[in-house]
Symmetry: C2
Subunit: 756 residues, 2 copies
């Protein structure tokens, strides 16, 4: 069937071509407005430079060759612009999404290769769109809060215009004035109006959706040299005020603060460190319109100095985003994030190339570009290709980093601690807009890009139509966003802020300290006082490289202070096969859920135990590596093994495990844990190396308002002391403390030492 | 602690060395028996040849360099021969296992590098073993049916002697006659006697354990030139008859037929095609002693023509074994097999090199050797290294293959159908000795080395001490061996042969036909009449490449004929995430087990449904690829989603899913299914390609004793007909048949055609 459709389309295309062929384009007039094109992403000078270098810039040449092969194949199949019908993943959706990319690439090919067949193809497809669009009603699917025309949501329409603006810029001079008028009057202008003036609930916000809308309107405005559209893009729709309490499909406020436009969208979601408030998955998505529109503004309106805006936050944000990826380049799935998204995605090719070209020519970016194995076919891609060709690439070294959150960097943040192959991602940020999860002070842990303790990510199969049209599944709210789905503390089986966005979005955690000066002991500590009114959580996490341990180990001190007795649940979402515990557990005959709401309804209880020892230990095997959790427990603690998947009537959730510590009827308490990565197992050699924990004992030797101190005894007999400062954690502050009649003295927020 | 032990050991070793240094070895006498060494694996001529080529044979040089670095590091740590105490994975076990390898390698280094420090090291360690062994009691651990002395089981003792014989051969001439006498009298001879004469229940059998025993005794016999030991190795212990009904730990008969010795061990388990009756995982394990002893026999006793024995079955078996691996070189986990074991294991380096050198110098073997990236440091490794160096390597193309089972090739077999990236492994073999599973006519399906439908493999974590000492777990019997754990038919919730080894081992399935002449349509068909007395199962499976499908699809026709009404369960052990079904299912609030025994106690029921349609469809996503099962159902069929993991009190089982068809109160019936692999999904591009099935309808158009015919309608409207011949399936037989008033005529066991 696919073949026959293609044949029909080809036939239609050929017919179309033979009717309209070369009517008006051979007699060119170069009017003054024409001489400015291309100007948006490719520039006239850039095109000249590229043509000179072609054939001698390997990564650029290779990209060009692939794009040419791809677009030649598309051209040979003919043009198809079906009447819009489907949700994401459906035929018409996929086709129009494909067309926008094809148009953009064909435009670029026309410029670089100076071959009119590409311009002709772009023109013909644009004319088909013009013909359809001028009478096109709203998209028939009604699920979106802001319906598009080509797609079911304005968001996708905006995507389309961001790409197609670039195509239009590339063929601008190829088209006659009459043709341009036709396209602008019947397609581009009404298209830009629909996603902005007609859809303020989509456009007039600070939100990644709006960023796409702003960029779309702005980019077509730049090409059309339409100052009104450019202003609408930069500052929002004049005179429009939205209901500040209205919400979108995801539960986010539509426009709480009344801010709008591209500049506000830079201002609000990015912290001064370049952290994007929704997290890396959405930053990656939002990145493209931010950067491509910025590039256009830089080229057409250099006086705006867009790359210097807010102290250069756009370029900083690329560095932040690259640092928010694991060893394989995959983004940490903070908040709503689909696992597997990585810096190999095309938006990051844009980000890396633009960052290199318009930034400081960081040689580390060239090594990522080499891994990406392709570049933008524009001035920035040329710069990268030349950099690589000239041997300037150097490794992009990811180090421990603390990224503040909030427009002014005052709303908590995300810290990543790295040592050798171990990476800890600790989240003490603000809510993260409508894509935020209720997981204050949560963390995930990685070894060489593999998850040791996972963050679940989102409950969604993006663009897989069979799974709820590829959109958010209801389990995203009932499970993935809930606190119990994360490696943090749940109190009384309720989520942080009661799972209420209105409350959560008013608060953020507060950094106690971050310390990465000592390469061997990297620590972050933060406090959360609002998630459960009356309860304070102070969590201090460290990655410590110590000669008495094979690999860097993770230390976790969660100090809970409450004004009443509570039930605390403290889960560890480990992956892999249980190897051993030092406690006896019982497995039930039938599996029941752990609770009935707030995410608990999705967990089966696979085993239960009473903690006997002062230290409860669990070891497991995952992807050929051994891990051991050592956790401080008391004899009233319950230990649970749970598994995700209850109340999941459409198999939307992954059946993955957790180990959970439950402490009932407790006011103030400490959850102290160490996670060791150790040894390995190969099914080929069948040998197990260093499969046992190196920890003999873990205990608290002091806990006060001011300090918490723990002692770790290695199986080889060495003892370590770790003291964290709870209240006066400046780097300059000196401390004196007696523990077990021994005096300790140090400067700074923590102290780590051997004590025997 | 590790470091301090090493230091102590080093100190002991240094003391030892300084006392005994160079007493008798500088003044060499070359007696006539000495001139024959090395002769076992390395030969005197081979050593000369290697020394000439050294530095100019990259893969050999690289291997040598690594081995040298490894052994130099070991030597610097000193010698450690602890009193045996532990099970597999424990300290003393691991140490002695390591020592045997180190000895063998040090011996080889002495020969190739002509550096006495290696000979001295071997001598000193052997002397420590001699000192310990002469008074060593049985190993203190009592779990084995045949306890060793260095290890808890004779099997490991035999492993040790197979390696150490080679080391002894290498340093034979370095040692004084007095030293040799001491070693032979106090260590080697009693060691060989313990694993043979003292342990007939281990030695005097046809079993992979015995093969190790035979090889151990034979190899030390060859080095010592002791004809009595050589004969004991080849023919078994003279005059020993075992109880033919006794069983070993795994439930296998100790010696049902009274056969024993190395030759009987070649005779019995290998079919003429080289299939090893326990399956590839154990063949890989058994391979090393077979081949290394054969190499020794070839070198020392060429008159035996061991590589021509049973029409060259030893070399054929290597080809069979390589064909029993997936696209990544991992062996199919038939019977008890641990997943992940692959041709990268050192035993396969031996196999590939020996097969190349002593066989027909197949260039395909060189490409596998290149992947293995190392060679044996002996004559065969030299041949491989030279072959690679001289550019002779060619791809090892795995094609569809049918491997007969049984000593005479008359006990069923295993067929592998391959087309493009799809591999189907179909098992219609005999029981497979004590490691056999009760899974007649079962199959597993792979795409590019990834499982589509899995075989569970074994329930064991080999050498991981925390999991039952690394030994078989009780779930191996209660789950992994049971029929319901496999992709085949279970009748009335009982396993084939009632799960009784005595019965199962008397029977085997029978090939109906195997056809691989047509590259596009590869078919295997076999019948099982004994698994359930009164019930016959005839299963025909095909992999078909057809232009109307994106990838080759799998066709499965299971024809069941019974003399009474039964309950049939027919599972599909798919891996991954459920995407879509065309039936409505219900998910229970609590998870209960599917049954109470025969493996059913390990399955939770996650969802249930009644089949509505004639075709029940399930699609899923795994590792970025889409799959759809289309199965013929009737309205009485129950559909179940199950998950492994019930009654698993120590988390020994993996929590993996199955979809299951249940047909009650039925005598004769057909289970007809198609599995399509199609399209793909990338989390980086977030685009889903070809995510839907290409099948509109699947139906039976004829079913008789002689023929079964099905019709497949593609969504593009094309229709296919597949007819399988049930009873008269020779290649030459011509057939005529009317279906829906249309006449079909063909020659051979099946017919496949487009019918519109």
């Amino acid at each position: 069937m696919i073949n026959s459709i293609k044949l029909i389309v080809l036939f239609v295309a050929i017919t179309f071509v033979s009717c309209k062929q070369d009517i008006a384009n051979d007699s060119k007039k170069i009017a003054s407005e024409e001489s400015n094109h291309p100007s948006l992403i490719l520039t006239a000078q850039g095109v000249k430079d590229i043509r000179v270098q072609l054939g001698d810039i390997p990564i650029f040449d290779k990209t060009l060759e692939k794009v040419k092969a791809e677009i030649d194949a598309e051209i040979s199949l003919g043009i198809e612009t079906p009447i819009p019908l489907d949700y994401s993943g459906g035929f018409t959706h996929v086709r129009h999404k494909r067309n926008m990319v094809v148009l953009q690439k064909a435009g670029v090919l026309y410029q670089i290769l100076d071959d009119k067949k590409y311009a002709k193809y772009v023109k013909e497809m644009l004319m088909q769109y013009e013909e359809m669009y001028k009478t096109l009603p709203l998209h028939p699917k009604t699920r979106s809060y802001a319906r598009g025309k080509l797609f079911w949501q304005c968001l996708n329409d905006s995507n389309w215009l961001v790409y197609v603006s670039q195509a239009y810029d590339c063929v601008y001079n190829y088209l006659s004035e009459e043709e341009r008028n036709k396209l602008e009057t019947n397609l581009f202008r009404p298209f830009a109006d629909h996603i902005s003036i007609d859809s303020p609930q989509f456009y007039q916000r600070v939100h990644n959706h709006s960023t796409w809308g702003n960029a779309a309107v702005g980019m077509i405005g730049l090409v059309m040299n339409d100052q009104e559209l450019i202003d609408r893009a930069l500052y929002g729709i004049k005179g429009v005020d939205l209901d500040k309490k209205a919400k979108d499909d995801d539960g986010g406020f539509l426009n709480k603060d009344g801010k709008a436009g591209f500049l506000a969208n830079i201002e609000e979601p990015f912290s001064p460190d370049g952290y994007y408030n929704e997290g890396p998955y959405y930053q990656r998505y939002a990145m493209y319109p931010f950067l491509i529109f910025a590039e256009g503004l830089h080229n057409v309106k250099p006086e705006l100095k867009i790359f210097e805006y807010k102290e250069g936050v756009l370029l900083k944000s690329i560095n932040a985003l690259l640092n928010l990826s694991d060893a394989d380049g995959e983004f940490f799935p903070l908040n709503d994030g689909q696992k597997g998204m990585s810096y190999y995605t095309s938006a990051l090719v844009t980000a890396v190339d633009i960052s290199y070209h318009f930034g400081t020519q960081d040689p580390g970016l060239l090594s990522i570009a080499s891994l990406q194995d392709r570049v933008l076919l524009d001035d920035s891609g040329l710069a990268v290709a030349l950099g690589i060709k000239n041997g300037k690439a150097a490794p992009f070294n990811k180090k421990s980093i603390n990224l503040s959150d909030g427009p002014n960097g005052k709303q908590g943040g995300v810290a990543i601690l790295r040592n050798e192959d171990i990476e800890l991602v600790f989240k003490y940020a603000a809510q993260g807009s409508s894509h935020g999860h209720y997981d204050k002070l949560s963390y995930s842990l990685y070894e060489k890009g593999e998850e040791i303790l996972q963050d679940y990510g989102l409950a969604r199969f993006v663009n897989i139509e069979q799974k709820g049209g590829g959109n958010y599944l209801k389990e995203n709210k009932t499970w993935a966003k809930q606190t119990i789905a994360h490696n943090t503390l749940t109190q009384n089986e309720t989520s942080h802020f009661n799972g209420k966005y209105e409350i959560g979005s008013q608060h953020h955690s507060v950094l106690n300290y971050f310390s990465s000066e000592n390469e061997n002991v990297q620590v972050v500590s933060a406090k959360e006082s609002n998630a459960y009114p009356g309860t304070e959580m102070l969590r201090t996490m460290a990655i410590i490289k110590d000669e008495d341990f094979e690999k860097p180990y993770m230390l976790d001190l969660m100090k809970v202070t409450s004004n009443k007795a509570n039930k605390y649940d403290f889960p560890y979402y480990f992956l892999g096969q249980v190897l051993q515990t030092n406690f006896e557990y019982k497995t039930p005959k039938t599996l029941n859920t752990l609770g009935s709401k707030n995410g608990y309804q999705h967990l089966y209880v696979e085993a239960t135990a009473k903690a006997f020892n002062e230290n409860s230990k669990l070891s497991w095997l995952n992807e050929g590596k051994f891990y051991t959790l050592t956790s401080l427990t008391n004899s009233n603690d319950e230990l649970l093994f749970t598994r995700i998947g209850a109340n999941d009537p459409e198999f939307n959730l992954r059946r993955e495990a957790a180990f959970m510590l439950r402490r009932k009827n407790t006011k103030n308490t400490l959850f102290i844990s160490i996670i060791e990565a150790h040894g390995g197992y190969s099914p080929v050699t069948e040998s197990a190396v260093n499969s046992n924990s190196s920890i003999k004992e873990l205990k608290v030797v002091l806990d006060s308002d001011a300090y918490t101190a723990i002692e770790i005894t290695n199986i080889n007999g060495t003892m370590k002391l770790f003291i964290t400062v709870n209240t006066n954690a400046s780097k300059q502050q000196s401390h004196k403390l007696n523990i077990n009649k021994k005096a300790y003295q140090w400067v700074g927020p923590y102290y780590y030492t051997n004590i025997n």
